[in-house]
């Protein structure tokens, strides 16, 4: 192939030059060029090596469907692999490299050795895994180095990506002739219209083929349409691909504000992802030309016929000097005329159909060597590119010399979005194509995407589709009529002959899927091995599974399968169309939700006061909580033990603001709580509180907390930090769905009230000193007071096992309370403590925790909580708790304690002998706070009957084990003497 820039023509700015590099070599192009057109203009025909076989590949297409000309572009974190050179527009300083070659594109060891075609037949991976187990390891080393396309970037993407939501009456996808006509008609009615075009320019096929519309050259008509749409306030988005059609007419658009690898303007995002909720969607997405099956049809120099016209007309580039056209439709004849006009010699036109008297064929036959019932059988070439083609004609085989082979296997309407939206397709035998049939959502398809091929008809139908979409929303019909077209050869042009290769073709080198290196021989092999379903064929051969999703290949593969089956193509069926239509940068999907912004951060009200101490932080859900406050020279363990000892020996204080808190008020407040809580709460006296737990509807424990009667008809319910949102949902469910008759209101006050727990033998003295209260509330009682001028609610509750108080104040007023407690507590010799020390204390005391012992599988019985169950059973979970499965306790994992002289590995399994069958697991382990040795809580099969047994806590993954003794799950003050006065 000897491609070159033409002396004139094309929609490029020849007055400006852009320099770029490809594989380190510097080249020049013009604004308006794609990388592919610029490379062709520089005579570069070899662009990459193929996926499996390292075959030389060039440019096949001129749009997003390109399967062969894939390059890596950009540097560092902006590097983008597998970018289609045909869908990448030139910018100053563009750096591109070819892929899958070593040491260089021209001399590639993988291809020279020719190793891979023997190694990787269809279904290779399946066979490798199903065969001898060790064999894969032999292949893997090879394949990891040899196969594959681009390498992903290692550095983080330095750019930002934007998300935007939009709403419109009519979304038009595609701004070719049909899309422009649709947008003109819809906007003429006053409808709010968005027009999205994946290209940099509006016009679609009009950029390729000369035509007159409304008496003006197509280019002028496009400019006029653009001005009209702008005047009507239509949002026209170029370089914007509709990549997904989701439920209820939500369409995602991927807008490229920069080209791949390009540095965005300062402060600007690289891309923007639009979520457009449209009332009506008009799909004018065009059609994609298919290649033809013949041997070595993947050689550089073999190009789609319409793509050839695009390079000539749009980019002012001729892809060759002597061309053969091989096709089975009228449209490809246009390529012969276009090439001839550009000064290219036409060696022959091979038409697989019988002679026809259509005007364009007759005109061509007068000028060129047209052979009917003739097919390409093999592309001939070498390192220097294409040199000729072997053809089969009625008269026999012949070899034609050429450096360009323009092929057309017909057109596949781009029905991807229609199918993503749940539509159906119908098969058109005449054009050999699936066209959109039934729509499920508010979509319609028009233009060549609906199988049309005559410009006048396309404009008329596009206009009608746009008008109908707006009219369906109650708008008037658009005034005037559709744009009128005049073409040299009007009429239908895309009828297609069979997609089969000529008899005797070398199928092993007849490529169907160029990107994944799938040949007709692979399709045949899959069929011989019994793969009949098209979905199986796809997975076995990887046909259509590359990043191009088989845009050029699927129909040819299907036709082959259908011919083996002896069934028509539509009966063989299609694989599922899945978003995205073209690859989307992961950064665009993430938008701003990366790094710090990837999840919300919830800071308790006292965050700044904690931060001043530089604690070790622990994320708990979205919350950040201090895990420990190390003093100079302390590690986490030393700090936590010191903090826990302060609680046991003097006093400690901890921020408990993140606990779930609900205020429940009204005449039926107690009745609601009786339904939510599995314990008896109805008879609670004013000013008193209780421990409680809640069940799920399946009878398993959901959460636990405390419930306080803070007024005659007013309660405060606390629950775990991590379960707070679930509890809010559950309370609303019980209130609105299960018991709507109750007169009760629930307020989620989790963040309204901040809390500080003060615990230890000196806690009572501390609270007395700070509040001046004459009467300090006894255990599980409520008091109100003032600390540092702030009104507080004092709940005497103990989680640590010591005399303790939870002191609540309005969140915005909690800081002076903490500061006062901190000062007075330190004067008593106490310390603030974090959740690591809290964990030590609660384990010693045997208090269960949600997510630890309450693991979503435990019943009240399992946890030893059953004696607290409300016998009247009015609560959620009561019916399921009585189901037969829960009647026997045999074999259930029950809460027990473990003791050891050494440390107990948390999360380890409990076995009789290591290695052995697990009989339970350690849920939480802690050193004893004041003594030597360790304790742990565990769930053990039939555990309550196994007190005194010795087991091994064994963690094979960490390689540690400890001998443990099964004991009651309370290690400290089992009588509860310490929290009573």
């Amino acid at each position: 192939m000897t491609s070159a820039r033409l002396p004139a023509g094309g929609l490029i700015n020849r007055t400006r030059t852009i320099s770029f590099t490809f594989d380190g070599q510097r080249y020049e192009g013009h604004p308006g060029d794609s990388l592919a057109s610029a490379l062709l203009a520089n005579g570069v025909g070899l662009v990459g090596r193929s996926f499996k076989y390292h075959r030389p590949r060039g440019v096949l297409a001129a749009g997003v469907e390109e399967p062969s000309a894939l390059v890596g572009v950009g540097v560092g974190g902006r590097f983008e692999p597998n970018t289609r050179a045909t869908d990448l527009f030139l910018y100053e300083g563009l750096i591109a490299q070819s892929q899958n070659r070593w040491p260089s594109l021209a001399f590639d060891v993988g291809a020279v050795l020719g190793l891979f075609s023997r190694f990787i037949p269809a279904g290779f991976y399946y066979k490798a895994f199903l065969g001898k187990p060790g064999l894969w390891k032999v292949y893997e080393h090879f394949i990891r180095h040899a196969a594959g396309l681009g390498k992903p970037p290692v550095a983080a993407d330095p750019d930002s990506f934007d998300h935007r939501a939009a709403f419109c009456d009519v979304l038009v996808v595609g701004a070719g002739s049909a899309g422009l006509a649709a947008a003109l008609a819809a906007s003429a009615t006053g409808a709010r219209v968005i027009l999205a075009e994946q290209d940099t320019r509006l016009g679609g096929g009009l950029l390729r083929d000369p035509a007159e519309i409304d008496g003006a050259p197509a280019a002028d008509w496009i400019e006029g349409a653009k001005a009209t749409l702008a005047a009507r306030g239509v949002r026209v988005l170029t370089r914007t691909t509709a990549v997904g059609y989701w439920d209820h007419d939500l369409v995602t658009l991927s807008e490229k504000l920069t080209e791949p690898g390009q540095v965005p303007a300062p402060g600007e995002p690289a891309q923007r992802l639009w979520r457009v909720r449209a009332q009506r969607v008009v799909l004018a997405t065009g059609a994609i030309e298919r290649p033809l099956p013949f041997a070595d049809n993947d050689r550089p120099g073999v190009m789609l016929a319409q793509a050839v016209r695009t390079y000539v007309a749009r980019y002012g580039v001729t892809p060759g000097h002597r061309a053969v056209i091989a096709a089975g439709n009228d449209d490809a004849y246009r390529t012969a005329f276009a090439l001839a006009e550009a000064g290219c010699e036409i060696a022959a036109v091979l038409d697989s159909r019988p002679p026809s008297d259509s005007p364009i064929v007759r005109a061509a036959a007068e000028r060129f060597d047209v052979r009917f019932q003739a097919q390409a059988a093999r592309a001939i070439g070498g390192a220097g590119g294409l040199t000729g083609v072997e053809a089969r004609t009625e008269a026999g085989a012949l070899t034609l010399t050429c450096d360009l082979l323009a092929v057309s296997g017909g057109f596949s309407p781009v029905a991807h979005l229609h199918m993503q939206a749940g539509g159906t397709l119908s098969w058109d035998e005449a054009t050999g194509a699936f066209t959109p049939d039934q729509a499920r959502q508010n979509q319609s398809t028009t233009g060549s995407a609906s199988g049309l091929d005559d410009l006048a008809e396309i404009l008329a139908e596009g206009w009608a589709a746009g008008g109908a979409a707006a009219h369906g929303l109650g708008k008037p019909l658009p005034k005037g009529g559709p744009p009128q077209a005049a073409e040299a050869f009007p009429g239908s042009s895309n009828s297609v002959a069979a997609l089969a290769p000529p008899p005797g073709t070398d199928l092993k080198h007849t490529f169907v899927d160029f990107q994944n290196d799938v040949t007709l021989a692979d399709v045949d092999l899959a069929w011989q091995e019994g793969y009949r379903s098209v979905e199986h064929l796809k997975r076995y051969t990887t046909l259509g599974m590359a990043t191009d999703q088989g845009k050029t290949s699927n129909i040819i593969g299907l036709a082959r399968l259908a011919s083996h089956e002896g069934r028509p193509v539509p009966e063989v069926g299609l694989t599922t169309f899945r978003p995205p239509y073209t690859p989307v940068t992961l950064g665009a999907l993430a938008g701003h939700a990366t790094g710090f912004h990837s999840a919300p951060l919830r800071r308790p009200a006292l965050y700044d006061l904690h931060a001043a101490r530089d604690p070790i932080w622990q994320p708990v859900g979205y919350w950040m909580r201090p895990r420990a406050y190390p003093l100079a020279g302390e590690n986490l363990h030393a700090a936590s033990i010191r903090e826990a000892r302060a609680v046991r020996e003097t006093v400690g204080w901890i921020d408990v603001s993140t606990l779930g808190k609900f205020e429940i008020a009204g005449p039926d407040a107690a009745a609601l709580l009786e339904r939510v809580c599995a314990t008896t709460v109805g008879k609670l006296a004013v000013g008193r509180g209780r421990y409680t737990f809640m069940l799920r509807e399946d009878g398993l424990v959901m959460d636990d907390g405390t419930v306080w009667r803070i007024g005659p008809d007013r309660y405060l319910l606390t629950s775990s930090t991590g379960g707070a949102d679930r509890m809010a949902h559950h309370l609303a469910y019980v209130r609105q769905v299960l018991a709507p008759q109750l007169k009760v209101a629930i307020a989620n006050v989790q963040e309204h009230w901040a809390g500080i727990a003060v615990a230890g033998p000196r806690a009572k003295a501390l609270v007395a000193e700070l509040t001046g209260l004459a009467e300090i509330p006894r255990h599980m009682s409520v008091a109100r007071g003032v600390i540092a001028g702030t009104p507080v609610l004092i709940l005497a509750a103990s989680y640590s096992g010591e005399r303790a108080f939870e002191i609540y104040a309005a969140s915005q007023e909690i800081a002076p309370v903490w500061t006062a407690i901190d000062a007075a507590g330190q004067a008593l010799g106490g310390h603030p403590y974090g959740i690591e020390a809290l964990e030590f204390l609660r384990i010693e005391k045997g208090h269960v925790v949600v997510g630890g012992e309450i693991d979503g599988r435990s019943t009240p019985q399992d946890l030893g909580l059953h004696r607290m169950l409300n016998p009247a059973r009015p609560f959620v979970g009561a019916p399921a708790l009585q189901r037969p499965a829960f009647q026997s306790q045999a074999g259930r994992l029950q809460l027990i304690g473990l003791e050891s002289e050494g440390s107990i590995p948390e999360g380890s399994m409990l076995v009789r002998h290591a290695p052995g069958e697990p009989e339970g697991h350690v849920t939480a382990a802690s050193p004893r706070v004041l003594a030597q040795g360790s304790v742990a809580l565990a769930l053990l099969r039939d555990g309550r009957d196994r007190m005194g047994e010795t087991l091994i806590a064994w963690s094979p993954t960490r390689g540690v084990s400890a001998k443990v003794r099964v004991v009651e799950p309370v290690f400290y003050d089992p009588e509860g003497a310490r929290y009573r006065d």
Binding site: D247, H248, L250, G422, E697, V737, R883
Partner: protein, 85 residues
């Protein structure tokens, strides 16, 4: 993403809502153990139209009855729960 017309708030995106369960999987508080097993574990999985319980969690917080087609995702009714229980 579905578009759900909340009877209180108007048309909103699905992200504001939480699916809870099929309507027939609501278990009354006074159900028998057998009914509990049946409603919790032996549920239908209809292909087609069914009533579902949703909550407009990131909106008004109301629980809603929603009539949805499980294949096409069409929604032809969204109602307040009324006298559901």
């Amino acid at each position: 993403m579905l578009r759900i017309v909340c009877p209180h708030c108007g048309p909103r995106a699905q992200v504001e809502f939480v699916f809870d369960r099929a309507l027939d999987a609501i278990l009354p508080l006074d159900a028998s153990p057998a009914e509990a097993v049946s409603r919790l574990y032996e549920r239908d999985n209809p292909r087609g139209w069914s009533w579902e319980l949703w909550r407009h969690t990131a909106g008004c917080g109301a629980w809603l009855k929603l009539h949805r087609h499980s294949v096409t995702h069409e929604i032809d009714a969204v109602q307040t729960i009324g006298d559901l229980a």
